[in-house]
């Protein structure tokens, strides 16, 4: 297997967007849509823990097309229950003692990763291959650290089970059960979350680039430690933890726009976002050119109008601050396309 370090991993993964607000997370957690393209063929849940005591879990969604397209990720967060141990709340897990009592709260978040290079334009099988390579990074590193991780030394991991066990000593002794319980709790939490939100419209979904990754390894591969499954495979990987919040972006961007793949001329369907109607073509271009709905809305409301080609029945708006042009259908007001750059 090939090991990719954090830098290479990031370079290959490209841009990602992090969402933590419950509504958005719920929309991404919606497991399927009815158009057939989004139906998953496999879901895998994986947990990981970092040396600093933080940790999380995530789900990979494999789609029929072969691409991984969704990730539902969790962060563990200590939260007091009843009579918490003094000072336990909010402390890194590794600083807790076996007698501390607290509950673990699973904070869901969705992280969307998109390849930024030419590989993003290739068919899904290449995307899938890339995923496997990156997954292999964790697996390859696991061999060299086997033996390092022993139950008693994993002071940072068993703490995650306290939410269930409340007895860290027991959690450590019964490590397998601990991990199984964590797995179950995460899954239950996730399922509840998903099921409660199934059917919600997913506006962000309109921006998804088919073949793009919602990818899992950003946080755990670069996080230093990765635990797969029920703690059977442990990988220590090189590199420092990078704050996932620093890695933001939105698909294409100014100076580095994307374009629809040749096999996929129509990517998005029309949608209404924040009361504004967007044509599928507009959503495609927003995705390709890295523009958010808020920018479009601002351009229409604050920008100046400019004439478009006669006979097209369109109206142009220009925002000189963001250097964005938005073209709408004059009759319906629907956003038809968006263009970056100065006139």
């Amino acid at each position: 297997m090939t090991y990719y370090g954090p830098t290479d991993t990031y370079a290959r993964m490209g841009i990602c967007s992090l969402y933590t607000d419950p509504a958005t997370v719920a929309r991404y957690a919606n497991p399927s849509k009815e158009d057939g393209r989004d139906v998953i063929k496999e879901r895998r849940s994986i947990k990981y823990y970092r040396r600093d005591g933080s940790g999380g879990g995530y789900s990979l969604w494999y789609y029929k097309a072969g691409a991984v397209d969704k990730l539902f990720e969790y962060e563990f967060q200590s939260e007091d229950i009843g009579m918490p141990s003094p000072g336990a709340v909010g402390r890194p897990f590794e600083n807790l003692s076996a007698t501390d009592s607290l509950e673990i709260k699973f904070v869901p978040k969705a992280t969307i990763f998109t390849l930024k290079n030419e590989e993003s334009r290739r068919p899904d099988d290449v995307m899938g291959a890339m995923l496997l390579r990156l997954e292999g990074a964790a697996g390859a590193a696991s061999e060299e650290v086997q033996g390092i991780i022993e139950l008693g030394s994993m002071v940072f991991d068993p703490m995650k089970a306290v939410g269930l066990a409340q007895n860290m000593g027991q959690a450590i002794v019964h490590w397998d059960q601990t991990m199984t319980a964590i797995q179950r709790q995460v899954d239950d939490t996730a399922n509840t979350y998903w099921e409660s939100r199934v059917g919600l419209i997913n506006p962000e979904d309109a921006y998804r680039k088919e073949g793009a990754f919602l990818f899992h390894l950003a946080s755990n591969v670069t996080g230093g430690w990765a635990v797969k499954g029920a703690g059977k495979t442990v990988a220590k990987l090189a590199g420092k933890v990078e704050d996932i919040g620093q890695r933001t972006g939105f698909l294409g961007r100014l100076g580095n726009p994307l374009d629809n793949a040749l096999y996929q001329p129509l990517r998005n369907n029309a949608a209404v976002i924040s009361g504004r109607e967007y044509a599928g073509h507009a959503l495609d271009q927003m995705q390709n050119r890295g523009l958010m709905p808020s920018v479009i809305e601002n351009t229409i409301s604050q920008g100046t109008t400019f004439p478009t080609k006669p006979g097209t029945g369109t109206t142009g708006f220009y925002d000189s601050v963001n250097r964005v042009r938005v073209i709408t259908d004059s009759v319906s007001g629907r956003v038809v396309t968006v263009i970056t750059g100065s006139p």
């Binding site: 374009d259 096999y263 097209t312 369109t314 042009r325 396309t337 750059g341």
Partner: protein
């Protein structure tokens, strides 16, 4: 031989991209520098229609669907009919003489 065909396809493909921007341009962005790739995504679809020698009506239907449904435009039916006719002739020119 294979290389020749690929080169020829590239030429055709590029020609279609140009004609979509310069002659079709239903949104009216051809003069905007940042929108020179506005219709590139549809070139493959159109190219396939031409390769398959689809009739003018079918080409029109595809164009009209793109304009009015995917782009959300009110559309200019007459202009689209004219462009579909143009594409059909282009198809004849390309594939009658080259293939």
């Amino acid at each position: 031989m294979t290389t020749d065909i690929k080169q020829q396809q590239c030429i055709h493909f590029d020609a279609i991209r140009q004609i979509l921007l310069k002659e079709w341009d239903p949104i009216g962005v051809r003069e905007i520098e940042g929108a020179q790739d506005e219709y590139n995504r549809y070139a493959g679809l159109i190219y396939k229609l031409l390769i398959d020698r689809k009739p003018e009506l079918e080409i029109f239907n595809v164009l009209w669907c793109l304009e009015t449904e995917h782009m959300g435009l009110t559309g200019n039916r007459e202009a689209t009919e004219h462009f579909a006719e143009r594409l059909t002739k282009l198809s004849d020119e390309i594939f009658d003489t080259k293939m």
